[in-house]
């Protein structure tokens, strides 16, 4: 009998441990005058990018004001989706994350699955959040979905052409260009012009027979690094995957032309290892002064101007993707339905997206989403190129709002990589992309 009781006692201990592990974080009731979120921990998942670092640098103000502790889990992009999804499927109030940042690729998927909390009521009741301050392109991408607001835009990653201005304005190189092409060197206005310039800039400077400067730093790693890069070529050459109604409109002709141009640039003007490069390797190539240009995020210029990370300080400039239209990307703050502390999470969003904090972040080098921050005199005084960036963010095209966007990116990345590797022709690659885009389209 005693041993039977012992067994039951043991089972009870195990159950109580399990239950206590599952218990929610509750907001404590503090004495009068206490801070509103004393003792509350807000768990946030974010990507390891400069804007996350800027938020981390600002956190202490929010924690002092509210008493809350903000615990930011920083992850590599590739790990975020797979870690988020199981948490988002958790029952209301029982997920690990109180607040998340949502990449624009995931917006339709998360909202169609009903994983995000609508924010319209909270916005209407707030005197801090000003929705009309955001650029319409950002709100459309990481703000609203089918007429409801689920996110507040956090930062943009519109892609642009970052290039070495010192090489571009070098009189010797300019003269050499004029000799070769019979015209003055100019920033490319189309993808074919960009490829021509990249090939021209690929050169052996010290005469040792080895290439010292590559015309273009590129990232052929599948799936998202290469898919994102290629879409700039596609958009600039007039192609798109879907129309606004979600119908596949990519044609074989434009798709093949864009893919051939992309592969041509990678094989003729990018470092030999570019087909396997991810963001870090492509960035390192530029930062070490081994590349003339790089189609990347517009906010890379402040990063490349940081002497701790770069050998090309004050040498880089940014302009629109050749052709004027590139890929628009961005992240938005959202509260999952599985959030255990939605009120504290909303208080954080209100704070982090307030004008003063957003401006402070922009001054640190952050990528704005609000027009008033883009146009702020202090911000423009520090980063004059933000005037161009605001236009780039307004003109660029976002990835199609499809609920299976991560899967479309996967297919896109694979067929591009296969074309670069030579195991697939560009015609077959685009045909497969069109077929799979149809299969994966929201019905």
């Amino acid at each position: 009998m005693k041993k039977g009781l012992l067994t039951i006692f043991g089972l009870l201990i195990i159950m109580s441990m399990l239950l206590s592990a599952c218990a929610k974080t509750e907001q404590p009731v503090g004495p009068e005058g206490a801070k509103p979120f004393d003792g509350v921990t807000i768990n946030v998942m974010m990507e390891g990018v400069p804007d996350t670092e800027y938020v981390q640098a600002q956190l202490s103000k929010f924690e002092e004001e509210t008493g809350a502790t903000v615990n930011i889990e920083v992850l590599n992009y590739a790990l975020m989706h797979e870690k988020l999804v199981p948490q988002l499927t958790a029952a209301a109030g029982s997920g690990s994350y109180d607040l998340i940042v949502v990449d624009n690729y995931w917006v339709a998927e998360f909202n169609r699955a009903g994983w995000l909390m609508p924010l319209d009521d909270k916005i209407a009741a707030s005197d801090k959040v000003k929705m009309d301050a955001y650029l319409p392109s950002m709100l459309e991408m990481v703000g609203t979905y089918e007429g409801k607001t689920y996110m507040l835009p956090f930062y943009n990653y519109a892609m642009a052409l970052v290039y070495r201005n010192d090489l571009f304005t070098d009189p010797t190189i300019q003269a050499e260009y004029k000799d070769k092409f019979g015209k003055d060197i100019a920033l490319p206005t189309s993808i074919p012009e960009y490829i021509e310039l990249s090939k021209f800039m690929t050169r052996d400077i010290n005469g040792d027979g080895e290439t010292d400067i590559y015309g273009a730093s590129m990232q052929g790693l599948r799936p998202d690094p290469t898919a994102m890069e290629f879409l700039n070529y596609l958009y600039s050459m007039g192609g798109q995957l879907y129309d606004l109604d979600g119908k596949v409109i990519l044609t074989q002709e434009v798709g093949v032309a864009a893919l051939d141009a992309y592969v041509d640039n990678m094989k003729s003007s990018a470092p030999p290892g570019a087909p396997s490069y991810g963001f870090d390797e492509a960035f390192a190539t530029v930062a070490q002064g081994k590349a003339f240009s790089y189609i990347t995020y517009n906010w890379m210029v402040p990063v490349l101007d940081n002497p701790e990370q770069s050998q090309v300080v004050d040498k880089m400039k940014v302009t629109a993707v050749p052709g004027g239209i590139g890929l628009l990307g961005g992240w938005g703050w959202a509260i999952p339905n599985s959030s255990a502390n939605p009120d504290a999470a909303w208080a954080f969003i209100e704070w982090v997206e307030s004008f003063d904090i957003a401006k402070e972040r922009a001054l640190l080098g952050g990528a704005p989403t609000r027009a008033d921050v883009f146009q702020d005199p202090d911000v423009l005084a520090k980063y004059p190129h933000y005037k161009d960036v605001e236009k780039i963010v307004g003109d660029s095209i976002m990835f199609p709002m499809q609920s299976r966007a991560p899967q479309i990116v996967e297919v896109l990345g694979r067929v591009i990589s296969e074309t670069i590797a030579g195991s697939m022709t560009s015609e077959a690659a685009i045909q497969e992309l069109i077929t799979e885009s149809n299969n994966l389209a929201d019905k």
Binding site: L6, E82, L221, R222, P272, A284, S423
Partner: protein, 298 residues
């Protein structure tokens, strides 16, 4: 034969108590292993895209569909090449190094052993990241060293053929230490008497190795082979970090492909069916190898 010798040897009262004490562990195993396994089996015969709502209709053809998937077949081919290569190389190199380290005349052998075991202490993700930097075509130290002696500098991870060879090299670097450890443990436990008897019979070094060491060590070699083969069949982390299955689909393995179908495509049904097929192959191979091992032991 008694069902359970241990429990039957106990008095009735103690037997009940013992079962009660073991019960939490048994229940725990059921909860954390058997339930997910059965649930995955249930999911594998259903249509279910996680982000598209609740579990869908019963669909036994998931198994047929995935077996006709050319990407899975390509991943299977890559997995066989990878597994066969790494197991053969690791057993050969590991056995050679274990024999060397078993020689008590070698000075500082414990230091050598310690150095050789360092890769085993590192998680595969770290190994992948370190090698990715080492193998960087322009900025990596390996190509820099090759350039110093005038050798060509390969693009290790960007060439479809070389990428698989590179993954094999990195896996051999990482996992051979495990083989060394297991085989060295086996070698040190071999009885000296048999070697002495062989010496009295006039056996030379090769004959001692061929007729004493190999037969006695065969079960250990087989165990090491089984463990490495199962692990190699599941290779995922190195591929994820080094190539993400590329260039193209040149290094996509079954585990990596299953991961993508599950975590990227969120296709619970098809990925579970693939996982069960992989599980079936591993169980089958393990049974075959265990039977071979039993025969060798006899």
């Amino acid at each position: 034969m008694a069902k359970s010798t241990f429990f039957n040897s106990l008095p009735t009262r103690d037997r009940k108590a013992a079962k009660g004490l073991v019960a939490p562990a048994v229940i725990g195993i059921w909860v954390v292993i058997l339930f997910p396994l059965l649930y995955a089996l249930y999911v594998s015969v259903h249509d279910w895209i996680l982000s598209q709502g609740e579990i869908g209709r019963l669909n036994f053809s998931n198994y047929i569909t995935v077996l006709q998937d050319p990407l899975l077949l390509n991943a299977a081919k890559n997995t066989v090449i990878l597994t066969a290569s790494v197991v053969i190389l690791e057993i050969s190199i590991g056995f050679g190094l274990a024999l060397l380290l078993n020689n008590k005349c070698i000075r500082l052998r414990n230091l050598y052993l310690f150095i050789l075991l360092i890769p085993m202490l590192m998680p595969p993700i770290t190994v992948g990241l370190i090698w990715r930097l080492l193998l960087h075509p322009d900025l990596g130290i390996i190509n820099y060293a090759l350039s110093l002696v005038g050798l060509p500098q390969p693009i290790w991870l960007a060439d479809p053929t070389l990428a698989m060879i590179t993954i094999i090299i990195v896996d051999v670097w990482h996992e051979t230490s495990f083989i060394i450890l297991v085989l060295l443990a086996g070698l040190t436990s071999l009885p000296d008497e048999l070697y002495e008897a062989a010496m009295i019979d006039g056996a030379n070094a090769w004959q001692k190795f061929r007729f004493v060491t190999i037969p006695l060590l065969a079960p250990t070699i087989l165990v090491a082979t089984i463990i490495r083969m199962i692990a190699a069949l599941k290779t995922y982390d190195l591929v994820y970090i080094l190539t993400r299955g590329g260039p193209g689909i040149a290094t996509e393995t079954i585990s990596y492909y299953i991961y993508k179908v599950f975590f990227v495509f969120l296709d619970m049904g098809k990925s579970s069916a693939m996982a069960f097929i992989l599980l079936g192959i591993i169980v089958l191979m393990t049974l075959v190898l265990m039977r071979v091992m039993r025969r060798v032991e006899q």
